[in-house]
């Protein structure tokens, strides 16, 4: 299974992405941004399709798509009648629809499935390197941002008095989310990558009691889900990205069966 370069790259990509997605997901859940995570990844579809049409790297398309989505959400949220969640819903549905129209037009190469569900087995060395660089950058940034994130998530209204800026911290987390989304989209796909961000994090939050342990556990579980999903997909000959997403959700389900322990 590991003899082919294709599978080696797929395993490395799944592990690297898991290591970044797990801890990021913990912060996303602690700062209650699960909806933003789901939305940002969907909203980049037009960017991906345009990149596929123009024959430029998907990574660039994803980056452009996320930027347009973020700008659109910020713009709509400024209208008091719409507000935060509605703004996100409107912009994301609109962009996803636009992506669908573009993807289903006769001129588009038949790659919609690949964009939506990822293609872990179609990665080049360059793809892997770019994803790894982004993922490691996200991990490093999360380590640096640990204290502001903790102070903001724990008690937002008193974070300023500790020298932390909650609004800036929120923004930084969304930027890291966007970077992770861009890094993961090629391997896991636009629809599935959220599973690897949120499911292992939810499990880790239930299984461990202290923040450092939770972050480490989420990274390990996400990497494990990536590897397990790939093995299953190889053995049963089913889609790789979908197997990884399912593995992440199965891991999460087991974790959620355990009642929460308090460290009294």
């Amino acid at each position: 299974m590991l003899s082919s370069g294709i599978m080696q790259r797929a395993f490395l990509e799944a592990i690297v992405l898991g290591l970044a997605c797990g801890p990021l997901g913990v912060w996303i859940l602690l700062l209650r941004r699960a909806y933003a995570a789901e939305s940002l990844s969907h909203a980049m579809l037009p960017g991906l399709v345009i990149a596929a049409l123009a024959g430029i790297p998907l990574l660039l398309g994803a980056a452009g798509g996320v930027l347009v989505a973020a700008a659109g959400i910020a713009l709509v949220a400024r209208d008091a009648r719409a507000g935060g969640d509605i703004g996100v819903a409107v912009v994301v549905s609109g962009l996803f629809g636009l992506g669908g129209i573009l993807a289903l037009s006769p001129d588009t190469p038949p790659r919609l499935g690949e964009l939506l569900f990822g293609d872990l087995l179609g990665l080049t060395n360059g793809d892997l390197l770019a994803a790894a660089a982004l993922a490691l950058g996200v991990l490093a940034a999360l380590a640096v941002a640990y204290r502001p994130l903790a102070a903001t998530a724990f008690a937002r209204h008193s974070a300023r008095s500790l020298g932390v800026r909650p609004a800036r911290t929120d923004l930084a987390l969304l930027v890291l989310l966007a970077l992770t989304t861009v890094a993961a989209v090629q391997g896991l796909g636009n629809l599935l990558l959220v599973a690897l961000i949120l499911a292992p994090a939810a499990t880790a939050l239930n299984l461990a009691t202290r923040l450092p342990a939770i972050l480490a556990l989420a990274a390990a579980l996400a990497a494990l889900a990536g590897v397990a999903g790939l093995v299953v997909s190889y053995q049963l000959d089913i889609a790789a990205g979908a197997s990884v997403a399912l593995a992440a959700v199965i891991v999460a389900s087991f974790g959620l069966l355990k009642p929460k322990l308090d460290m009294a």
């Binding site: 903790a150 102070a151 008193s158 300023r160 008095s161 500790l162 020298g163 009691t209 202290r210 009294a264």
Partner: protein
Amino acid sequence: MNVAATDLRGGYARGSDVLGGVTFAVAPGEIAAVLGPNGGGKTTLFRALLGELPYRTGAVTLAGRPAYVPQTDDARLDFPVSAHDVALMGAYGRTPWYRRVARADRERADAALARVGLADRAQARFGTLSGGQRQRVLIARALVQDSPVLLLDEPLSGVDRPSAVQIERLFGELQAEGRTLLVATHDVGQARAWPRVLCLNHGPVAFGAPAETLTTAVLRATYGDELVVLDGAGQAVTVSHHHHGHAH
């Protein structure tokens, strides 16, 4: 003066100041009660002093960045930290982003928890502590900040008796160290026990020593139509204040 404000005006929205010209000055080693109804401007004043809320006019003098103790419901119960972790957050402001929190600060966090009587609960998860214990952990966090000025938002409301005793004793110690405490409260009895009181109700009502300041007229102006109970001498002793601001 450790904390002073001159004609401080400002608030949440343009054209409707919550703070309408607040002037006061509190010396080192003094505790000032900030008295007023909910929505009267206590928290707004604190936010202005913390630099979170730009004020329109006026001036603020502060001896260093104040430490702020929020109401316990600002802190999340499901957040995965121990009491020690929370106390340690007091050191975040002086820790450069590329450094770990210093060992000396870890020791300070232990010492602060011991000072609020929670040395044995240092490793307990914050969310498992009682309301009074959580309030003391948040005070320990402010102690680690080691600021000359502490702003405390209703630190004694809804707190169990042992916690309240411990907190009041600590206030005395902090006073003796020359620190200045501004304590938001709606309890007039408490306010009488401290050297200074600032009455706020959408603007300054009065500031001074409680004996001269807390007259019936001032309390009426502070609390408006809320109930004022008079004792035999015709002096206001209690203001019945509904915490959630329901109509009586």
